[in-house]
Symmetry: C2
DNA sequence: AAACTTCTGCACCGATCGGTGCAGAATACG
DNA sequence: CGTATTCTGCACCGATCGGTGCAGAAGTTT
């Protein structure tokens, strides 16, 4: 977007409307969220939606980006913890909390947004798979640095540890979608990290 | 079904067609599987489908039942292992294998069949959530018996152990849907059960 | 054979899907 | 002011959604 704002300005808050769209995708999944569901929640017309965000796939990608900066920000925050173990603990504690926040959909947009899909949802599904793989790669890189610094033993396998932690987080997301509480999931996280490193 | 077979017999194998329907739901999810996708895979017409299985929700329920008896049979089998730890190991090893079988969809029908859904998929979503909860309850009961027998210490919490194991299995399902290999997931399972009991 | 029951294939239903054309309203620029 | 540019609301598009009516074919029973 350039700084020019010639022409009629839009009558809605693009960021607030995107947040609403994110919630609809989060709660109903990509294929389960119809244009009608989205526009009603966002309070705008179809035409305004397409002009501001592009088509449904574009909107989904922007909603995911918004998710990563909002409810999913715990991931980036956890990576900054001082030790590998604290990274893992912060990551799983953040997942337990973010997936069970009151007033927000249960579970994780990056998991339930499109885990299996028909032809129309394939792009969304692949986008999320790539997003999860990217998160796992960030964890792996963080654990690699921990090995270099001596925080983790040289025998530790950063890739396997990252996969282990991400698998737990994904399981937490499914459990949350099924109604598990934050305390339930925090206990699972504690148990999963009781012996460290796991691999 | 009664033993009477008056009238024209159906021209297709109901069990084989159900198996095909299961695969479509497994790969594409409830909402992503259209009637056209289903009937083409099953090799029958819409009319035959409705006469033999009921509507789409009924077909989904029957496909899930079929899944539990087929690719998901590892769950019931694992429950019969002699010790609690072997139950958990067999369960997670079975999940790692069943979620990555060549020639079959990756992941678990009970997870990706309908994790988040719109209005039309709500029944399917709740059906799967209940199915997963039922599996967790079976694990819990099995671990309770292990406590009674002395296989698990009296301080162990069967409910928490069951939740822990099921959470790992759910995470394995998500990872498999994203392309993880059986070996990858077996290593995760090994790491998750390295110290026992987990709670 | 006739009568009865069930299954099949085709065409079709209203509803909803994602997406768009168009006219007019609202702003900035000259 | 006039003109250019953008946004809004409405109606509408073809395609697909899940589901069904109907005529006739294919069996069993008597």
């Amino acid at each position: 977007m350039s700084t020019s704002q010639i022409g009629r300005p839009r009558a809605f808050d693009a960021e607030a409307a995107l947040e609403k769209a994110m919630m609809v995708f989060w709660a109903q999944g990509y294929e389960g969220a119809s244009l009608t569901d989205l526009t009603e929640a966002m309070g705008i017309s179809r035409k305004s939606l397409y002009a501001a965000y592009g088509n449904k796939e574009d909107l989904f990608r922007k909603a995911l980006q918004r998710y990563a900066e909002g409810p999913g920000a715990y991931i980036a925050e956890a990576l900054q913890a001082p030790t590998a173990r604290e990274v893992a603990m912060a990551f799983l504690a953040g997942a337990a909390r973010a997936n069970t926040l009151p007033g927000l959909p249960a579970g994780c947009l990056g998991v339930q947004g499109a885990l299996a899909a028909g032809e129309t949802g394939r792009v969304a599904r692949d986008t999320l798979a790539e997003w999860r793989a990217h998160g796992e790669a960030l964890l792996r890189d963080r654990f690699r640095r921990a090995v270099q610094v001596g925080d983790l033993p040289a025998s530790a396998d950063p890739e396997k540890i990252a996969r282990y932690v991400m698998t737990i987080a994904n399981g937490v997301a499914v459990q949350a979608a099924g109604g598990a509480t934050c305390e339930d999931l925090q206990q699972v996280a504690d148990a999963a990290l009781r012996n460290w490193p796991p691999a």
